[in-house]
Subunit: 265 residues, 4 copies
């Protein structure tokens, strides 16, 4: 399917403020970016680089006054997310080098403390995809998805205690559980067509049978319409903006994901 | 200034043909990509990766039949190219690690054979920027710029013997001469506003005084309006398309670079 | 000074166990590895790769039975650690791309929750080196250094509550405090000549005035004799060994750091 | 088998001279470095980095006067080189991203000009390993191997005209022929046990059936005893030393490769 995604952010800046943005979509195995707009008002010098996860990041200094970022893209994404029930676990010795770091605990995914819990949740499953599916189901059934309830990321331990969270939080718990079973897992931040209420979204991917598969504990079932913005070990690595100096919050944030025809790209 | 760049390519494909394209502009120190379109007809799966020079490359298989690629971008680029007469040479021991490979000879820049010639051309110059300027001037004055005269790249040695060439060829000679003086130099492929006849363009950059500076022996003098598509050691690294299997040539190629207003981005 | 470092580890392996070791020293700005031995008994196939922090990592599968790793190196390291009182803070916009990830919170350094505390500790300091020095002093004065008291890493929040910890723990707190002030900081694992009791050591580095400087809250004052094994965001990234599958603990671990003469290298 | 390799180089330096050395062996799929010595006399500051091919490179400035480099290593390497007659060609669309650059022409491997010749040489072969084997055989039979006859690298075109060359030259021709058939190929510089006369050696690898295989047109048949120092597109990328400023040549160069027992490592 073809989607048009939009993200509008407005800030009121008091002092010159360095930002690192991660709002340039990349084409990848799962999506093709056919058109893209990236507008800054006022227009300031920007420098773009690729971080160690392959994300395109924009560095700039926002000047005092109103500062608006608006991005828009037309993206082809899968109608259905690939699923692979029964797909086998990849033994650690066969994982590609670049995937190994997704086995380690990270800021919001304290995986080294979830071994027993993950073993219990996945007790009867085949090693691999089915374990991850059991984890996704467990999180869906046990952690209440409450969009819009938190601004700062919480960690897997905190979410597990709290039993509710936003999309990012549920994903962090899913990731921590996977990694505790030596299954590489990573956070994805992006858009999802049909999300209610519409907002930026976060889900997770797990590496089994030689590739990354998509999981999402916030939705009743996996369907198509995912558009990835960035990948990382957890929310610490994948902020759509990092801002330094005195804290600045968006005064306006608007996300839109619309189905379009290929001819309207 | 704001420019709209367009590149349209059409092929007639006989058998399924793997392509690697390099037609996704990147924002960098010198340019900001505010909007972009990238269209393939028919629409095929594409996988994008970043090569070792930082270029975004698109991998795909073109199916038999007509195959069209059209890209378009709105880019802010400098009104004037930065120049720095007198800027000093960077001693090899102070060059960043990532710049060192631009000192080595490469396919079309046999720099290890140009030492004496470069020494003669730059005899009276201050080490650094002024040496590169002398090289650019020498190439402009001694190698006739004949756009459209060659399809396959020629090497610096060949061009020096032939005394004429296309933009890529003149750049190769400039690069080989710089490197022979231990000045890192690289090829840039892209667009130039006001180029006659309009086509894709190639120029070179040399690293002095801690950054890359632009040089172009094909133009009477440096002005603004450059838009980079890709960087590399020479044309072997920076082809806008590499195609494998039976050779395929574009049946149509059209390049356009227009000045636009910021409001029309 | 020249040092000979030795690390001997013995395991009793029950089932074939994948390991990732980080025990190959690298030469760097601060140290030169003049000789090195790396012995595995039994001798098994090993594959070495470079991780995203530049560390050399060895992948192997330990077979059932006794498994011994012994490494040894002769290294030249600084007689005195560089210090730079007054060295200025680097504004985020001027940090190299590769340094930016050391500003982010990580598994054991929850820097986003230490802003107020760091501000209080560094209230009267010049921005930059002196802030980090104040943090190092505060950690030394307020967190009791108790070598050998913990096996699993604790996080900065946990250590701050507990008021005691091992070298790694004190470093995690120092790092979290630095990052909360937008000063990049990273963990170093390695050897320290004269450490009592002798063991592997951990300290931290902070990026000010264009380079990394060494800090160590476990020692009364900075002196020479540091030998780095690996770098990372925190202990999650820099384990001298990561082991997968059923947990295996060393049955023997012996570390030695001896002063030698250059002629005995 | 276990081998002890030694490389001794001596220079007489007139003015402070920047060097980039590539003499630190790396453990890899094919070899394990169990011990290593790297001595510089006089002892100067050295900075080590990893280049874009994964080689460890040492940067230093040699001071005026005699300057000696001596390296030594004990390495386990295969008794027999892996061979895979019949192993299939990997279609370009399935090559890993990192392998693609080994398809491009490079300084000494003008592969874009060898298509017809390679097609003729490999006319009756299965696509893949057997094509490379036919190329290796053709080079062995048609280009006379004359060790010690050249100091500066020659290109595949030059060698093909000259019909004789050193190990590096024969490899360049083999590489150019492979690439012209869309088979990735790279140069390896290192040691070979039993080479006569003993010297540094160069051979090539080709990527078929999902991995790199070793080929060597200078030897009557493939056997074990290869120790790799560095990899690259051709000799421009893999010099054991690159030196900048007024040319300096070794006044002494001695290479030794001895079989040892594991107990003598």
């Amino acid at each position: 399917m073809w989607l048009r995604t939009k993200c509008d952010l407005k800030f009121e800046i008091a002092v010159p403020t360095p930002f690192i943005l991660m709002l340039r979509l990349r084409s990848g195995a799962q999506q093709w970016v056919a058109s893209e707009k990236y507008k800054l008002e006022p227009s300031v010098p920007v420098y773009e680089f690729t971080d160690s996860y392959g994300n395109l990041c924009q560095r700039l200094i926002a000047p005092p006054g109103p500062f608006a970022i608006s991005t828009e893209a037309a993206v082809r994404t899968a109608d259905q997310v690939d699923q692979a029930p029964g797909a086998p676990f990849v033994e650690v010795e066969y994982l590609p080098d670049g995937v190994l770091s997704y086995l380690l605990p990270s800021r919001y995914c304290e995986s080294e403390r979830f071994g027993q819990m993950a073993a219990a949740i996945t007790a009867d499953q085949l090693l691999g995809y089915d374990q991850v599916k059991a984890i996704e189901t467990w999180v869906r059934d046990n952690i209440r998805y409450e969009p819009g309830t938190s601004d700062t990321p919480l960690s897997a331990i905190e979410i597990n205690a709290r039993c509710s969270g936003v999309c990012r939080d549920l994903s962090h718990l899913g990731i921590a559980l996977c990694r505790s079973l030596s299954i590489p897992a990573r956070l994805v931040v992006g858009y999802l067509h049909g999300l209610h209420p519409m907002d930026l979204h976060a889900w997770f991917e797990a590496y089994v049978w030689g590739r990354w598969y998509t999981f999402d504990a916030t939705q009743p079932e996996l369907r198509g319409g995912y558009v990835a913005i960035g990948y990382g070990r957890d929310a610490a690595d994948v902020a759509i903006y990092n801002q330094f100096g005195p804290a600045v919050y968006p005064t306006y944030q608007h996300i839109q994901v619309q189905r379009i025809e290929e001819k309207d790209v």
